[in-house]
Amino acid sequence: MLEARGVTVRYSGGAEPALADVSMTLAPGELVAVVGPNGCGKTTLLRALLGLVPLDGGDALVLGRSIGSWSRRELARVIGVVSQREEPAFPLVVEDVVMLGRYARLGPLAAASAEDRAAVRAALEQCDAWSLRDRSSDALSGGEWQRVRVARALAQAPRALVLDEPTASLDVRHEMELFELIAALVNGGLGALVVTHQLNIAARYASRLLLLGRGRLVASGSPGEVLRREALEQVFHWPVAVTTWCDGAPQVVPLRPGEPAS
């Protein structure tokens, strides 16, 4: 559904490209996690895939069509995005927030139909947020707000979700709840591309990982193939040990200086 072919992005003033020759794909029913240190190009990769930065090389494709040929409205019907931060200038009621997800499926002046309302309700229920529908957006906790934003992305009736650090600043429970939600949606056939710093959670939920370092794709494949000591140490510049949880997922333990790896 989403594909990057040798994508290169150069920001003005940057000596090195922010993204160099990166290729990746996202298929339906697949959860792909993008991991790597701060400033390695994770967000730039998302922005390139969504057509928000000009490409200096390669191409980004959505459903096989080059990103440049999509209008924002068309894209919004295919990809639901939960970006890093969002604060409404004027607090809105949750149900209205999610209804804004229907924008690309409504005419500019058309009123919301019964179908739109049903889609909003279904999206809120899927995210276990129907009970929040009458609350004001400024009266929600961080975890609730993220669930509402995922619900809004679902109300777009997209084929793929793109989430940029969706669990930053959430506690363990809310973080796990959000990943469980994403995993359930992926089971239902959506593709999901998630940027995250949580290597261990990514290792348990993602079907594939992309490890980026300084704008380059250092490794990609199953969690077991990507989360290897040498690659991680090279990218993060910190010693780590990699163990295996009982379900077979690799788990990364950052080491203290001088601590042996086993």
Partner: protein, 323 residues
């Protein structure tokens, strides 16, 4: 909410009636009614030729200033935005003054010059604010607006002092914002310029909802953000220009009214814009009524009254936004 809407809808004819009734010669509602119905009624000339166009003009100007403020607030994502505070009114005033001083065309050309002035001002303010940082900081934007507005008013004063044109003798009074020169002709000129941008702005209601979430979320939900912003800035400049050219610089209507509407009804622009239009109309007709009666037989500019109400509200909002 229904009751509030009904109340507002009742307030519209009531304030219009009040606006016609008050003045140097107070009229009873019955006398106003008679004069509206029959040209040869005792108060016929006062009502039909002076007070009716004046009241209607105040209503329309108030309504358009309010929706202009609401639109700008959504685009810059800040409740403090207002055509006056963002420098649009100053730019429009300067454009109008220059057109009058140079005798460029008649009443229909002045709004066009004001439009050019408003566009230059908004472009300047935007550039100043954006240069300061990649993200549009509301504080910087307001500062830029105030600075550009101050510059425009300085140049305006210079033009007024230097130009010999007789038309400019009353320019200072005109700039303070008021309806003492209102006429059917002024109403026609204003409406001619204001109808289209008003409709355009109303049609943007849902896009404004998305924009107030933030530019990036708005993009992801499917609007062409840059195009929408251009449309709103253009419509806002045109509406500001039309009002400044016909009745001078009236501030704070665009600040106070959308704020009240959002609190009393909903922040969704499908209701904010039409309700702010009605509310702005009511507010400015009342302000003009106060302006005409508070220091009778003298008359205050309506802009003075709106500022007296608007500035304290601005102070409260400012504290709440910046804390």
């Amino acid at each position: 909410m229904r009751a509030r809407t009904a109340l507002l809808l009742l307030l519209v004819p009531a304030t219009l009636l009040l606006g016609i009734a008050v003045g140097p010669v107070p009229l009873a509602p019955k006398a106003v009614w008679h004069a509206l119905g029959r040209a040869d009624a005792p108060a016929g000339v006062i009502v039909r030729e002076i007070r009716l166009p004046r009241t209607l003009l105040a209503f329309l100007v108030g309504g358009t200033l309010a929706i202009t403020g609401a639109g700008l607030q959504a685009v810059v994502r800040n409740p403090l935005a207002d055509p006056y505070l963002l420098g649009l009114s100053g730019g429009a005033g300067l454009g109008a003054v220059i057109a009058i001083a140079l005798h460029l065309g008649g009443a229909w050309a002045v709004p066009l010059a004001a439009f050019v002035g408003a566009l230059v001002a908004v472009a300047l303010v935007y550039r100043l604010a954006v240069v300061a940082g990649r993200r549009l900081d509301a504080r910087v934007l307001l500062l830029a607006g105030v600075v550009v507005g101050a510059f425009a008013s300085a140049v305006m004063s210079a033009v007024i002092s230097l130009a010999p044109a007789a038309e400019l003798r009353n320019a200072m009074l005109w700039l303070l914002g008021g309806f003492s020169a209102a006429s059917w002709h002024a109403l026609a000129v204003f409406s001619g310029y204001a109808v289209l941008p008003t409709l355009v702005l109303l049609a943007q209601a849902r896009s404004l909802d998305l924009l107030s979430l933030g530019e990036e979320p708005a993009l992801h939900l499917g609007i062409d953000v840059e195009r929408t912003k251009r449309i709103v800035y253009l419509a806002a400049s045109l509406l500001t220009a039309a009002s400044v050219a016909t009745c001078g610089i009236i501030g704070f209507v665009g600040l106070a009214v959308p704020h009240a509407v959002r609190r009393l009804w909903s922040p969704l622009h499908g209701s904010v814009l039409p309700l702010a239009f009605l509310g702005g109309g009511v507010f400015l007709v009342l302000a003009d009524a106060v302006a005409r009666t508070a220091v009778r037989p003298l008359e205050l500019p309506a802009g003075v009254v709106t500022a007296l109400v608007g500035v304290p509200l601005f102070a409260v909002l400012l504290r709440r936004t910046l804390v």
